[in-house]
Subunit: 204 residues, 2 copies
């Protein structure tokens, strides 16, 4: 049992070290030796967990997928507010959680084995599903298609992430809140707008 | 005169080859030898134009800045429509013009000498100035600040560029047109909305 716990801790340390190095220098520059050194484990231990670099890249994306699943967890709240809250959590998370950020950057770049999930696509699917739910709840203006609105929401989060790479000011809650304040009256109708908080209801 | 023309052509070929290789593999991986080979010029000719790689990186950004200046050229049209049109030209350009795309990616990454312009910041400044002009023309709703609206417009373009890297569908006119259709009624007021074309008035 203690052995297993230690193995899990080692595995997580390797994933975190890999994410940090991919984040700093890009996946091509980071060597397995640097990653194991940074994680404070032997090269042998690294190879026990990950046969090669592609497997480690995949593991970072899968770990980030777990975090995305937490961000998009079901909550007792109307679909539109859930979407707003989750978008804030995602953008904040991309700023301060290196595994989440590295996972999003790696996924879709085709650097791993090719079997890791595409996280931007997973996020887009969830946004679309949530907007469809909002429609069923009667919150959406009828002329708005969940698919088209979702594309705009996804592009906004991706843009904040990309710009946040060189200037963290873009990841502040205020920019995304501004986006929601601009878009909400068209998506849910001016009358329903007061139901929703563009800056999110998070306690964070 | 013929000499000078040839020198300009060589210089442009080097900038284009550098942009293509930076775009493909990132600036760190591209060597000066690969760049000169791709441009079809000798290593000596490369060094005649660019003393080192940082100078070549800077030259790509400066070339992209020239294209951005063309995209944001003054035109006989209301400020809001000018902004819409230029945003479409930028996103289309980022999709198909490798020098523009590489310039935007390089600028702000601090890869060159550090003296090249930050193109996202230049774009942001122009968007802000254009929104301020829209306010003077009476097109803007009075509760909207040019600074805050500009941030949302800039993040949207950056997001389409980032997502377009792995899926060109994001760079299609329709996604940005959707964004403008969602945002315009809040920025210019529902009544003025019919003055403006969210998909741009471009002939392209």
């Amino acid at each position: 049992m203690a052995m297993q716990e230690r193995a899990i801790r080692t595995r997580n340390a390797l994933i975190k070290a890999a994410a940090e190095l991919f984040d700093q220098d890009g996946p091509a520059s980071a060597s397995l030796a640097t990653i194991s050194a940074r994680a404070g484990v032997s090269n042998g231990a690294l190879h026990f967990h990950f046969p090669n670099k592609a497997a480690l890249l995949d593991a970072v994306v899968v770990a980030a997928e777990g975090r995305l699943r937490w961000i998009t967890r079901p909550r007792e709240v109307r679909a539109v507010q859930l979407l707003i809250d989750a978008s804030h959590e995602l953008v904040q998370g991309l700023g301060r959680d290196v595994v989440l950020r590295a996972g999003f950057r790696l996924s879709g770049q085709g650097e791993g084995s090719g079997s890791a999930p595409d996280l931007w696509r997973a996020w887009q699917k969830w946004v679309e599903d949530t907007l469809t739910r909002a429609g069923k709840e009667g919150s959406l203006l009828t002329d708005e298609s969940p698919h088209e609105v979702a594309a705009v929401v996804v592009a906004m989060a991706a843009g904040l992430e990309a710009l946040g790479e060189s200037d963290a000011g873009w990841l502040e809650r205020s920019v995304l809140a501004r986006f929601w304040a601009l878009v909400l009256p068209r998506v849910v109708g001016a009358a329903a707008r007061h139901h929703f908080v563009p800056s999110g209801r998070g306690d964070r």
